[in-house]
C-alpha cells in the first residue's frame, strides 16, 4: 500500500484516502474489541470479523481496485482465513487429545464478566474473527481482481 499512498490517479480523492488511513486502524481496533468481548457483550467472532475486514476493505475502496489486486494480498487473506479456522479446529480437538470430549470446554472457566473467562469461548471467538476477516477480505480481493480482468 506504501507504493500507492501518493498515487492520486486511482481510487478516491485525497481526502477519502487520508481519512481512510486515519480510520482504518481505529476500525480494526473496534473489530478486535467486539471479537474479544464476544463472551461478555453482544457481538463475537462473526460480527467482529466483519468489522476487521471492513477496515481493510475501506482502504481498498479508497485506494481503488488496483491497490487491492495483488496475489500476495490474496494469499495473506487466504492464509488468515485458513489459520483462523484451523485454530478453531485445534481448540475443538484439544478435548479429544486430552481424553475428554470433542469440543469440550477444556480451559478454566474463570470469573464471569471478566475478559479472561468462559474457557474456550473467547479463543474460538478470536479464531472465528480471524477467519471471517480473512474470508471477507479474500472475497473482496477476488471480486476486485475479476472486475479488473473484465475491464482489461
Amino acid at each position: 500500500m506504501q507504493n500507492n499512498t501518493q498515487n492520486t490517479s486511482s481510487g478516491m480523492s485525497l481526502i477519502v484516502k487520508t481519512v481512510a488511513r486515519i480510520l482504518a486502524g481505529m476500525i480494526m481496533l473496534y473489530g478486535i474489541y467486539i471479537v474479544a468481548h464476544g463472551h461478555l457483550t453482544p457481538g463475537g467472532g462473526f460480527a467482529g470479523g466483519v468489522i476487521i475486514a471492513g477496515s481493510f476493505i475501506l482502504l481498498y475502496l479508497a485506494y481503488g481496485a488496483t491497490a487491492a489486486d495483488s496475489d500476495k494480498r490474496k494469499w495473506y487473506a487466504s492464509l488468515c482465513e485458513s489459520l483462523g479456522i484451523f485454530g478453531f479446529w485445534i481448540v475443538a480437538i484439544l478435548g479429544l487429545v486430552f481424553g475428554t470430549y470433542f469440543l469440550f470446554n477444556i480451559f478454566a472457566k474463570g470469573t464471569p464478566f471478566h475478559l479472561f473467562s468462559a474457557g474456550i469461548i473467547p479463543v474460538c471467538n478470536v479464531a472465528i474473527g480471524v477467519e471471517v476477516a480473512g474470508a471477507l477480505v479474500g472475497i473482496f480481493i477476488t471480486f476486485a481482481a475479476v472486475k479488473l480482468l473484465e475491464r482489461k
Partner: protein, 497 residues
Amino acid sequence: MVNSIPLFVVIPLGCAFILPVIGRRWERAGDLFANLVTVTLLGLAIWSVRFIRETTVYHVGGWGAVNGIPIGIYLVRDGLSIFMLVVVNLIAFVATLYSINYMEYFTDKTKYYTLFMLMLAGMNGVILTGDFFNLYVFIEIAAIASYALVAFGTEAEELEAAFKYQVMGSVGSGFILLGIILLYSYTGTLNMADVGRVILDKGASNLVWFVNVLFIVGFGLKAAVVPFHMWLPDAHPSAPAPISAMLSGVLIESIGVYPLTRIMYNVIGFDGVLSNILIVLAIISMMIGGLLALWQWDYKRLLAYSSISQVGYILLGIGLGTPLGLLGALFHLFNHSAFKGLLFLDSGSIVYSVGTRDLREMGELDRRMPITSKTNLVAAMSIAGVPPFNGFWSKLIIIIACIQAGRYGVAGWAILGSILTFAYILKAERYAFYGKAGRDVADVKESPPFMCIALIILAVICVVAGLMLLPNVRETILFPVVNTLTSGTEYIWRVLR
C-alpha cells in the same frame, strides 16, 4: 472406542483447513494428504463395521442430557450410519486416488482437494449427526462445496450449471430449514431422538405432515427425485470426473436419501401414505430418468440421468418399507455408489484421453483403452443388472420385495425401468467402445496408472459385492443395517438411553 466417532468429521476438516496453507508452495501436498485422509477414513469406517450391531452416542462437548432432555449435540453411530460411512469413504478414497492423475489438467489442485475434503466432511457429518440443525449445517457444507466443485473447470457452461444447481439447491435447503424450524417450534428441541419422542407423545398432527412434505421436497431436491431433479443433469456432468463420481455416487444419497430415510423411519415414523408418496415419486424418477438418459448423446449427461433413475430404485425399496425392500434399497445404494462412481470415472478417463463427451465422436475405444473399456463394461453390466455383477442382486431383491409387498404394478414398473436401463447403458457401451469411431482415435492412449488403479478397485468391488448377500455374511453386515430402519422409532430410546 467411542472417540472414533467425531474423527470422521474432524480429520477431513483439519486436512481442508491446513491444505491451503501448506499447499501453496508444495504442489503435491494435496495428493498426499487427501489420499492419506481418505485411506484413514476408509480404514476407520471398515473398522467400525464391527460395531454395526450397537448404537453408540457421542456427546459433543460433553453436554449430555439434563432431566432427560438432550441439550448438546449428539452424534449417533448405529448400523445405518456405519454402512453409509463405508459407502461414502470408499468412493471418496477411490475418487482421491483417481484425482492424482486426473486433476493434473486442471489448475489449482490444492483448492480442489480442500473443497473435496470439505464435501467429504459435510457428508460424514450428515451421516453421523443426531441433531436437526447440525444436519442442516453439514448438508450446507457438502452442498456449497459441491456447488464450487461443479464449476471447478470455470468454463461458461459449467458456471451456468453450478448456478442452476446453487439456486435449486438453495430452494431445497430452504424447505429443509423451514421444516426444521416448524419442528423446533412444535417440539422445542432439535435433537432428532428427542423430537421423535415429543412427536410420539403429541401424536402425528397436521404440522408433522406438513413437515413431512417439506422434507420430501427438500431432501428430494438434494436426492434429485423427479420432479425436483432438474439441476442434476446440468451439474453432475459439468464437474470434474472424480467429483461427478462423488456427486452421483454418494452425495445425492448421503445428503438426500439418507436423511430422508432416517427422519421418516426413525424420527417421525413411517406409514402407508408416506410409503405411497415415495413409491410414486420413485416410479416417476425411474421412468423419466431412464427415458431422458435414452435421449442423450453426451455420455456424462446420460450417466447423470441414469442416476435419477437409479435413485428411483433406491427410493422404491425404501418406500416399500418391508425388510426385504429396505435390504434391496440399501444394497442398491451401495451398488449404485460403486457402479455409478466407476462409470463416471470411466467417462473421465475417456474425456482425459479422447477429449470429448459426445458419444458420437467416440468409438473403437475397446482396443485403445483396454482397462477403461473393461471396467466400464463391468459397471455397465452392473447397472443393467446382469448377473453376477452387484446391480443384479439389488434389482432382484427390490423386485421380489415389490411382489412380496403385494404391489404387482410397481414391480412391473421396476421391470420396465430395468429394461430402460439396459437400453440406455448399452447405447453408451455401443457408441463409446464398440461402435465405429466418429473421429481419429489412433493416438488415444490408456489413462495414467493411478486412474487405472482406481478404476480396477471399483470394478473388483462391482464384481464381488454380490458376495455380501451370501448367508452368514448378510447376517453380519446387511441385516443389522436393515434392522436399524425396521425397528423404527426404537431409535429414540437407543439414543436417549
